[in-house]
């Protein structure tokens, strides 16, 4: 061997150096491993869990809405669907054809599924068809062995059993808009619905419930491997309304005989709303299943505004129903006394202007009772002229006109009680005396909603307590009788005088609503008719004797009625507005009679769950 021992020694030295180098490098690797697994272990364990654990949200069940008797007005129906997992079938189309033997699947459905399958991951189930009935589901379940990759599940779908009858109150739910997304993460769930109108909107958060979560382990492509931990969702709260569902349905049906009408029945003492109807209406279930375009266009274009809740959002001149307010203002000012009379010859002259009474030949000499019972305009023209607008406006506000009443439905509108300040702000002009004259008979700029008119009547009927209307629990706990409400600064004697006159309107043969009276003395009601002018009647028309019926529907008068019952011990009040319905006594009073009769017969105040109206925890 060459090199001899020197060579060998050098070699051994170098080999040992090489071995040492290898051990050193192994030491570096070991140190690095220890650093990663001990020093950084916790951090990487967290990162690893973040990788593999997905939090899945579980949708809560939406709370029901029921009427005062517990009858459901908004429920969740089970929505059965059939789904298909692409990775579990060899050929999607074949699988769907096989499914066609059992349920009705259109070519379009098949095309949709095939399109969807191209877009999504193979393990994500694709909805083939929803809204299946129980028979379809059972058929599919039984034939499951022949249908690989196909399965059914059930979700929830909102349904409104009363359909049109409660559409405006209950409202409906719809998909979440971008602008509606708040801190609540359930809103981001696919297919999650929130309240869009009515009670569904107002108490959306209460009914929504709370999300549940499921921790699922996922692999790198996001496919669920197993569930780790489940926190069930909390169902939303049940909302109980003061509404009488049957009476509501009755009213809605009665109003639908008119082109466009609305009505309110409420408790004079507590403020509970029993009926809140607006006709025509729409079927809220169509918003859930998908509104057909032609029906939507029809609803939108209809001049009778079926999408609007006219009972709270319709603003009308209150017409002669406003005369009680003018009368009360007159009494407060000491101007209305039994001795005060007016002579009505059918018209009233102010400077160069002439104001007509609805009765062309005049009422003759009338006192307050006669003027209200016969709805004499001239008496109130003269009274208003002396009072001035400010006193009338103040009185109107005391009775709930001209402002929102904090009602549960956000669609509520404030109406309008005009005065000098308003006029100045409105168009910068000075108030004209003529405007006071037309306001005296509830015309001009004056506007009120049917709900406000009912509240006004309730405050007169209950002895001057400032009831506010409510349909859910917000106010319910605190108000069980009229005395729970604040007392209005008004004399009981004045209210009694007004009620006496309102009694004459219905129950005296000179009264404008005499034909609509209830003959049973225990159920008799009192009230006031009103006929609201939509368009000023021109002198030419007056001379030509044009009758209201001859005018186009949209130019005809509104028919109004407000009333309370029973006469002796007022408990229920109602207001009825028939848009372009002609005269109050001819069109609105008969409807009011039926409502007053039905509500007394059913007497919802003594029944149902009123004293317990509140949010109940749904039990599931």
């Amino acid at each position: 061997m060459l090199g001899g021992r020197d060579n060998e020694k050098l070699y051994t030295r170098r080999a040992i150096v090489m071995g040492g180098l290898q051990m050193g490098l192994l030491g570096v690797l070991g140190t690095r491993l220890a650093w990663l697994q001990i020093a950084q272990g916790h951090r990487y364990r967290t990162l690893s869990d973040k990788n593999r654990i997905n939090m899945k949200m579980l949708a809560p069940s939406r709370g029901m809405i029921v009427d005062r008797y517990g009858v459901p007005l908004a429920v969740n129906n089970q929505n059965f669907r059939v789904l298909l997992v692409p990775e579990q079938v060899e050929n999607i189309e074949q699988a769907l054809r096989a499914l066609q033997n059992y349920v009705d699947i259109t070519e379009r459905d098949i095309a949709d599924v095939l399109k969807e399958a191209k877009r999504s991951s193979k393990f994500v189930p694709i909805e083939v068809k929803d809204d299946l009935n129980w028979k379809d589901v059972a058929t599919i379940e039984v034939n499951m062995p022949d249908l690989p990759g196909v399965f059914t599940d059930s979700g929830e779908r909102r349904s409104y059993p009363f359909a049109e009858a409660t559409a405006h109150i209950v409202g409906y739910v719809g998909a979440v808009n971008k602008s509606e997304i708040d801190a609540d993460p359930v809103l981001t769930l696919p297919g999650f619905k929130i309240g869009k109108t009515g009670i569904e909107k107002k108490y959306d958060e209460e009914m929504r419930g709370e999300k549940g979560t499921a921790q699922v382990e996922v692999n790198v492509v996001g496919r669920e491997v197993r569930q780790l931990e489940v926190n069930e969702s909390t169902p939303g709260k049940r909302i109980v309304l003061s509404l009488d569902g049957e009476l509501q349905r009755y009213t809605q049906h009665r109003l639908s005989q008119e082109r466009s009408a609305s009505a309110v029945v409420m408790d004079a003492q507590t403020g509970a709303v029993y009926v809140l109807a607006s006709s025509p209406a729409f079927d809220p279930n169509l918003f859930i299943s998908g509104m057909p375009f032609d029906i939507w266009e029809e609803l939108r274009a209809d001049p009778a505004h079926p999408l609007i809740n006219k009972a709270v959002a319709g603003q009308y001149p209150p017409a002669s129903t406003f005369k009680m307010i003018v009368g009360l203002a007159g009494m407060r000012a000491g101007l209305v006394k039994p001795s005060r009379t007016s002579y009505c010859n059918g018209k009233f002259t102010l400077g160069r202007d002439t104001f007509h009474c609805w009765k062309k030949q005049g009422h003759g000499r009338v006192n307050f009772d006669g003027a209200l019972a016969g709805s004499c305009d001239v008496y109130f023209y003269e009274l208003a002229q002396e009072l001035g607008i400010e006193k009338i406006a103040q009185e109107a506000r005391l009775f709930g006109l001209g402002e929102k009443l904090d009602f549960d439905l956000s669609e509520e509108r404030p109406g309008l009680v005009p005065d000098k300040k308003w006029k100045l702000g409105y168009n910068g002009q000075k108030w004209q005396l003529g405007e006071t004259i037309v306001t005296a008979i509830g015309q001009g700029s004056l506007l009120a909603t049917p709900l406000q008119l009912a509240v006004m009547t309730a405050r007169m009927a209950n002895g001057g307590y400032a009831v506010k209307p409510w349909i859910t629990y917000d106010l319910a706990q605190n108000y069980n009788k009229a005395q729970d409400w604040e007392k209005i600064d008004v004399s009981s004697a004045h209210l009694k005088a007004v009620r006496q006159a309102m009694n004459l309107v219905v129950n005296n043969e000179d009264g404008t609503a005499f034909r609509s009276r209830i003959k049973d003395p225990a159920m008799a009601f009192a009230g006031k008719t009103g006929t609201g002018q939509v368009q000023r009647i021109t002198m030419a028309q007056r001379l030509a004797g044009v009758k209201n019926e001859d005018l186009a529907w949209q130019k005809r008068h509104h028919a109004l009625f407000v009333g309370y019952a029973p006469v002796g011990n007022p408990r229920y009040v109602c207001s009825v507005v028939v848009e372009h319905g002609g005269g109050g006594s001819a069109t609105a009073a008969p409807i009011a009679k039926e409502l007053m009769y039905e509500v007394q017969k059913r007497d919802p105040r003594t029944k149902g769950v009123e004293e317990k109206i509140h949010v109940e925890e749904a039990k599931e």
Binding site: Q22, A34, N219
Partner: protein
């Protein structure tokens, strides 16, 4: 003639068999066994598709290893140049085929195995250098022109492998060659000069030699979090898997990173990650310890050889094997860029398994025939 004092290679087969390095064989089986367990886990607790095939290859490879070990080292001495030039020829063939055929190609399909000429070349270069240095003296090693031929032996295959392009293998051949020069007694100053030269070459290589994907790997290595879902994904996920293992690991078949496929290439290049995720620091250190014993065994065999060829060959192959281990494990732990090197004996793959076992066969041959006399 008493066998135990025999100086030549004409021992009986049973004698040779008894003198196989059984300690080394045990270590190889232990390491390969860990590999099988890891592959079984990688398939989610199944022998199919990886562990079963790996075991088959291992059995075939071990038989080959024994055959190689029992053949007298003088035959390997004589086969050096045919092996070296044959390997070079195969490299040229894949290069030409690559140009004619389908882009970058690194292997030749021999039917039963896809042969990578670069793997053959890693062993052949070590053999050729061992042969060349076999007859060198210390004085020879100090003469610079004596080292021209070794340089050619190293750089000829390196340049061909670079053309493939396979930077990782090229660097490994260079490093193994440098190791050979070192143990053969080349001047320390040569290595100092080499280091300076490399430092000078890096900027040139960056702009003129490296392909963009190779540059990207280096950049990603330097800052893997800059692109966690792209090129840095491998490193980031591998570090998460390792780190989440902790001291005791997540348990056999419980490694979530690998089982849920967050860890790419878990059965090949990232098998160490899977093992250390499930078995923790203790399992990882055990494997490093076993590798350390293998290295030590190789050094020990080498220093006990009585001929230079055996010394250089056995130590060169040990260096070769250790380079694989270092590069793979350092890569999965984020210490060096991802170069795509398997962990020998453990990663799923036929070529690397066979290459490792052939190497051990040659080391054992050196050991059994430690006193064989080789003519020049």
């Amino acid at each position: 003639m008493a066998h135990h004092i025999g100086l030549s290679s004409d021992h009986g087969i049973m004698y040779k068999f008894r003198h196989i390095s059984w300690g080394l064989v045990f270590l190889i089986f232990a390491i390969a066994g860990i590999g099988f367990a890891a592959l079984y886990s990688a398939a989610g607790g199944s022998f199919d598709p990886w562990a079963s095939r790996q075991i088959m290859r291992f059995i075939v490879g071990v038989i080959g290893m024994f055959i190689i070990a029992l053949i007298d080292v003088k035959w390997w001495y004589r086969l050096v140049w045919p092996a070296y030039f044959g390997g070079l020829l195969l490299l040229i063939i894949v290069e030409v085929m690559g140009h004619v055929g389908m882009g970058a190609q690194r292997w030749i399909n021999l039917g039963f195995i896809q042969l990578q000429p670069s793997e053959v070349m890693k062993i052949a270069v070590v053999m050729a250098l061992a042969r060349y240095f076999h007859s060198a003296t210390i004085d020879d090693m100090r003469r610079i022109y004596f080292l021209i031929i070794p340089a050619i032996i190293i750089l000829a295959p390196v340049s061909l492998v670079m053309l493939q392009p396979d930077l990782g293998t090229s660097l490994m051949i260079i490093m193994a060659g440098a190791g050979m020069l070192f143990i053969a007694g080349a001047s320390i100053w040569l290595f100092v000069a080499g280091a300076v030269a490399v430092a000078a070459i890096i900027p040139i290589a960056w702009y003129f030699v490296l392909h963009s994907y190779q540059k990207q790997r280096v950049l990603t290595f330097l800052d893997p979090e800059s692109d966690p879902l792209g090129a840095g994904y491998h490193i980031t996920q591998s570090k998460i898997a390792l780190g989440s293992g902790g001291v005791s690991g997540r348990g056999f078949l419980e490694g979530t990173q690998s089982r849920l496929n967050f860890l790419p290439e878990k059965q090949t290049d990232f098998i160490f990650t899977l093992w250390a995720e499930e078995q923790g620091l203790l399992g990882g250190l055990l494997l490093l310890f076993l590798f350390g014993l293998v290295f030590a065994y190789g050094v020990w065999i080498s220093t006990h050889c009585r001929n230079n060829f055996g010394r250089f060959l056995s130590l060169g192959l040990t260096i070769n094997f250790s380079l694989y281990v270092f590069i793979n494990i350092a890569m999965v732990m984020g210490l060096i860029p991802v170069v795509g090197a398997p962990l020998p004996l453990i990663s799923y793959g036929g070529t690397s398994m066979l290459a490792a076992l052939v190497g051990f066969g040659l080391i054992m041959s050196c050991s059994i025939h430690y006193d064989t006399k080789l003519t020049r």
